[in-house]
């Protein structure tokens, strides 16, 4: 099954630094999405990148997608303590299919 695997599993950085998280998957996808989750809370949709897109920006977020390598990266620039959360990538196939989530990266931004 297609599955996003993320690395690193945990990342700790200083406020103001950039954070990069990576996601790999196994099969062809339609879209790849990134979600954020504060501890034990709901999933917040950050950004969706389609399979025919290579890069997308939203505020301090930059997502890249390399379908030849079946991988994506999420870059958070100028990180803030409030960015501390778990970040998940999720992929879906063609059609109205369920999301397959990666294991997530726990980001800690230290003030």
């Amino acid at each position: 099954s297609q599955q996003g695997e993320e690395d690193p599993q945990a990342l700790s950085i200083q406020e103001g630094e950039n954070a990069t998280m990576n996601c790999s998957y196994k099969t062809s996808i339609n879209n790849l999405q990134w979600y954020r989750q504060n501890s034990g809370r709901g999933l917040v949709h950050l950004i969706l990148i389609r399979s025919n897109e290579r890069e997308k920006h939203s505020g301090r977020l930059r997502v890249t997608l390399d379908t030849s390598k079946k991988s994506s990266s999420l870059l958070i620039t100028a990180s803030r303590a409030a960015d501390t959360a778990s970040y998940f990538c999720a992929t879906d196939g063609m059609g109205n299919t369920p999301l397959v989530f990666g294991k997530g990266t726990r980001l800690s931004v230290i003030a």
Binding site: V44, H45, L48, N96, T97, V100, F101
Partner: protein, 115 residues
């Protein structure tokens, strides 16, 4: 804008009891997905419905059942609860006919604790 509504937000049950979780999708969304997220785990897909019919089935135990009603809300019924069923249960909705842009909108989740 209206979001996905889930109820209850928190639920505490004893082993072997039953539980019903409800999900109200965003207005005009016709597809509902259920996901389960155990402690420290990633969300796992359980089941989905499109236009009141089951469309995909994931790792949903036989003790669980779900349906989508005529107003598109969905209910997840869980019987013979086990300790391992303690998790966050998310519902997500999407517009099923926009198959090339399957953005799913998640509800806040129901935290189920089985004692």
């Amino acid at each position: 804008a209206a979001g996905v509504i889930q109820s209850p937000r928190h639920l505490i049950k004893e082993k072997r009891e039953t539980a019903t979780l409800k999900c109200y999708p965003i207005p005009r969304h016709d597809t509902v997905y259920w996901y389960q997220q155990g402690p420290g785990q990633d969300p796992q897909f359980l089941i989905s419905f499109y236009e009141k019919m089951q469309s995909d089935k994931g790792s949903i135990p036989d003790r669980f059942s779900a349906q989508q009603f005529s107003d598109y809300h969905s209910e997840l019924n869980m019987s013979s609860l086990e300790l391992g069923d303690s998790a966050l249960y998310f519902c997500a909705s999407s517009l099923g006919d926009r198959v090339a842009y399957n953005e799913q909108f998640f509800g806040p989740g129901t935290r189920l604790t089985v004692l």
